[in-house]
């Protein structure tokens, strides 16, 4: 169609809009997409690299789903025994389950199969690592505060479900390493008092290993858990849109606005582009680094094992718990209480719950019911930051415990000494980390205060007429002054009056006392440096004694 004709046609029939517009109109008439687009098309997102950590998770999740679907086309979730006759020579003629055999087939005889398998597994490790870092970002900046507590829980659930999806997936190839992991899981289930044996028999369809667990783990891995996760991811994203993104304090940024770039076009391009960047990086990693080489491990046999048997990193802390636990076992009335396994099994979720419930504890202590959209700098919430670092330390100590054999061989240490170190550090290290972090935060707060009151150290040394050397401090710009003083400071909550106006004494509840104590610990004199006041600032800047 020539240009002339088209303009003529447009002029003649006004309703003949461009095709895209007509499709949109059609869809709006049925789906109401315009109202949706009105609120979201020019949605503002603030720019900060740490706000993209969640996107890394989202995209690696999508990559996992895409590659996972491909893998299901070739994988046989069956434990029937077959003899291997593929192209990998050192396993020729070996007996193995069909699951292992088909994974070997994917790795060696499907072109690109190995690549997709490696992308799938690398993306899974990165997905969980990304969630961990994203969660820590949200934690340390206080982004979990009202109104985002529910989204914090969604995210936490995603992390936990991701761990189990990862574990079930890792078990599917039925190789010697993952089989050892499944055996560990069976032992842990057996330790549950009263019902453990039954649970184990129901999960494995009888005695371990039986012939069922691969098929059962398969449906859990590809259907049940990812289905729930997909729902949670959608909910998580809807809430991010609904709440609008948080932002760091700065000029023009208030609790009532959000400053950044619009979704269309900037974030559409940036976020869309970032998906390809994430996929590209993971594909390149899968091209150069091997992951889970099941052919080197061989098929699972319950009477074989390799040293250095570890789970994937996200399960490493549970491995640490079980490794350092003393072997306590109580026998009574014909029953056995396997504390050596059961206690770690109970602490395992508690480690995670400890960080999950923190936001609710903090909100109870502060009693703050307002919405918070401006992020804290970690130093301005010393107790929270210290708690977070203590938790990470705890987690890391357990990771060390989980890899104690590799620590031993690579640093020429005794495995027994490392185990004892972890046993002690499990209790001591978080406390030390808490104290150290808090002090560092307070030091940084003091530095900020000095900066506001005395200006920035310029590095210029001046000699005064009487011979004294001083460093010239440059006053900060108003933007900087605002940014450094924008944070909130709570005062410790006191227990309200215990005697009312009529002189009747009110009973003070234990919870109130506890809260007052906690509040004092959070916001007492020793827990925060009062931020500079206007008076202080004026006194120092107006005087000429300032240098």
């Amino acid at each position: 169609m020539s240009t002339n004709e088209s303009t003529a046609a447009n002029g003649a029939r006004r309703d003949k809009a461009p095709a895209g517009e007509r499709v949109a109109d059609w869809a709006d008439g049925r789906l109401g997409i315009y109202s949706l687009a009105k609120a979201n098309m020019r949605k503002i997102f603030p720019d900060h690299w740490s706000f993209m950590l969640g996107e890394i998770c989202l995209y690696s999740f999508i990559i996992i789903i895409l590659t996972g679907v491909y893998l299901t086309l070739f994988f046989h979730p069956s434990m029937n025994e077959v003899e291997y006759h593929g192209s990998y020579v050192p396993l020729q003629g070996q007996l193995m389950s069909e699951a292992f055999n088909s994974t070997m087939h994917i790795s060696f005889d499907v072109r690109g199969g190995l690549l997709i398998r490696q992308i799938h597994h690398w993306a899974a490790l990165i997905f969980l690592a990304g969630m961990f870092v994203h969660m820590m970002r949200v934690f340390f900046t206080g982004a979990f505060r009202k109104p985002r507590e529910v989204n914090w829980l969604f995210g936490f659930l995603l992390f936990v479900l991701g761990m189990f999806t990862g574990f079930t997936g890792y078990s599917l190839p039925d190789d010697l390493l993952s089989g050892t992991g499944v055996r560990f899981m069976e032992g842990a289930i057996l330790s549950v008092p009263i019902v453990g044996t039954y649970l184990s028999f129901f999960l494995f369809g009888g005695e371990f290993p039986g012939g069922d667990f691969v098929a059962r783990f398969y449906s859990i891995h590809v259907l049940l858990l990812p289905g729930i996760m997909l729902g949670l991811v959608v909910g998580h994203l809807i809430l991010v849109f609904y709440h609008k993104h948080t932002q760091f304090a700065g000029p023009g940024k208030t609790n009532n606005n959000v400053v950044g770039m619009p979704l269309l076009p900037v974030y559409m391009a940036k976020a869309g582009g970032f998906f390809f960047l994430v996929f590209g990086v993971i594909a390149a990693i899968a091209a150069i680094a091997s992951i889970n080489p099941i052919w080197a491990m061989g098929p699972y046999r319950p009477d074989q094992v390799s040293t250095g048997a570890q789970p994937d990193w996200y399960m490493g802390f549970s491995e640490g718990l079980i490794r350092v636990m003393p072997g306590w076992e109580i026998n009574f009335w014909g029953h056995t209480l396997v504390l050596g396994v059961f206690i770690p099994l109970v602490i395992f979720p508690l480690v995670l719950v400890a960080i999950a419930v923190y936001p609710f504890i903090e909100s109870w202590v502060t009693g703050d019911k307002r919405e918070h959209h401006i992020l804290d700098r970690p130093r301005n919430a010393p107790t929270r930051t210290a708690f977070g670092v203590a938790w990470i330390t705890w987690y890391m100590v357990l990771l060390i415990g989980g890899g104690n054999d590799l620590w031993a061989t690579h640093f020429h240490l005794s495995i027994n000494a490392i185990t004892w170190f972890v046993r002690v550090a499990f209790f001591v290290a978080p406390v030390l980390a808490f104290i150290a972090t808090k002090r560092i935060c307070l030091g940084l707060q003091r530095r900020d205060k000095d900066k506001v009151l005395h200006g920035r150290e310029s590095g210029i040394i001046k000699r005064l007429p009487h011979g004294e050397f001083i460093e010239v401090h440059e006053p900060l710009s108003q933007e900087q002054l605002h940014t450094l003083t924008a944070h909130e400071q709570y005062e410790p909550a006191a227990i309200g009056a215990t005697v009312d106006e009529n002189g009747v004494e009110r009973k003070v509840k234990g919870s109130e006392k506890l809260r007052a104590k906690l509040s004092e610990a959070y916001y007492g004199e020793e827990s925060q440096i009062p931020k500079p006041t206007v008076e202080e600032y004026k006194e120092i800047t107006s005087g000429h004694g300032h240098h």
């Binding site: 025994e81 690109g112 044996t197 000029p251 091209a287 319950p302 072997g327 605002h482 600032y537």
Partner: protein, 351 residues
């Protein structure tokens, strides 16, 4: 716990309390100066720079197209079992390497192009968007509460207790059918965990050679793994049986055996212990022949095989079960019964 009892003055002032936007006044030096003025990028004022950016973006997209062509070419052209040496990675599969790098490049270039485009050519003016409180206004709140009360009243749920109680009962009971359906996931444990395939008279068969063992085959300081006679790798139940029956055979100078029962149950210093760790069931077999310690590679439980296999370190709760062995009339090692206690990890009914 409500916050009503927290005095207002303990809560910090709202963040935007100090000063309205934009006025750098004398009174409050910390006031919010408002959004800084927008500064132009080179691309905004210099069309040549903008065109350079455009060319960069286009080049990245072109690289992506070429990489996709490379991907297809590698897929078709490279044999799937060809290996190449790539410094410093080593000997690797050529196809995996080529497919991964071309795919990675194709995807990365699209992403890099899009981001470069957004960063240099799309508007970078920061826009402030208003937030609105998440919670509803008091009027809406009141309306919803009223509506709910009206609905609840019309349903008469509160008044007609019988309906309410039976309904809750029905709703609470029906999931039980779902629980029932899970019953056939597996058989009941019974005493299966207490028994293994071993019984009196079964010969100990060397896993390596698949031949029965003679006492003279087992040297002091050696380590051998054995299975019960008649259990073959092709058997359907092999995995489940070997998971309980796997044996670890060692020989210790009888003088060095500290445990009296261990010596009794051994044959001339040849002792047979379960290979399955009593912690969570890993095949434990890291045997140190000088110390007679055996270590589990999974969780480092350590057992002393010269002293009744008692636990000397780590998370295991009890000793490894020992199999009582002797020699039959053909001179082969045989079991003198099943294990006296359940092998493998402890469980509630173990006792």
């Amino acid at each position: 716990m409500s916050s009503q009892d927290i005095p207002e003055e303990n809560l910090p002032a709202e963040q935007d309390a100090h000063g309205a936007v934009g006025v750098a006044d004398e009174k409050d030096p910390f006031a919010d100066p408002g959004l800084p003025p927008h500064e132009h990028r080179v691309q905004d004022i210099d069309e040549r720079a903008a065109r350079r950016s455009e060319r960069t973006v286009a080049m990245l997209f072109t690289v992506s197209m070429l990489a996709t062509v490379g991907f297809i070419a590698s897929y078709v052209g490279i044999p799937h079992d060809k290996s190449i040496f790539v410094f410093p990675i080593g000997h690797i599969n050529a196809l995996n390497f080529a497919l991964g790098l071309t795919l990675g490049l194709a995807l990365f270039s699209i992403g890099a192009g899009a981001v470069h485009w957004a960063r240099t050519l799309m508007s970078d003016e920061e826009i402030a968007d208003e937030r609105h409180p998440i919670e509803a206004s008091p009027e809406v709140r009141a309306k919803v509460h009223a509506d709910f009360k009206q609905g609840a009243k019309e349903s008469a749920l509160g008044r007609r207790k019988l309906i309410r109680n039976t309904m809750f009962g029905a709703l609470a009971l029906f999931p039980l059918s779902g629980v029932m359906l899970l019953r056939d996931l597996g058989p009941l444990p019974g005493t299966k965990l207490r028994h293994t395939m071993w019984r009196k008279g079964l010969q100990l068969v060397n896993m390596n050679t698949n031949e029965p063992l003679r006492p003279s085959d087992v040297a002091v300081g050696s380590l051998t793994f054995a299975k019960p006679e008649g259990l073959e790798e092709h058997d359907e139940e092999f995995q489940t049986e070997i998971a309980k029956a796997a044996l670890m055979i060692i020989r210790i100078q009888p003088d060095n055996i500290k445990d009296k029962r261990e010596l009794e149950w051994s044959h001339e210093g040849i002792v047979a212990y379960s290979k399955i760790c009593t912690h969570v069931g890993c095949p434990i077999s890291l045997y140190e022949q000088q110390t007679h310690h055996v270590l589990c590679p999974c969780h480092q439980s350590t057992f002393d095989l010269s002293d009744g296999a008692r636990v000397i370190f780590g998370p295991a709760g009890h000793a490894l079960p020992q199999l009582r062995i002797g020699v039959n009339d053909q001179g082969y090692l045989e079991a003198l019964g099943d294990f006296e206690e359940p092998v493998g990890p402890a469980f509630w009914e173990r006792g």
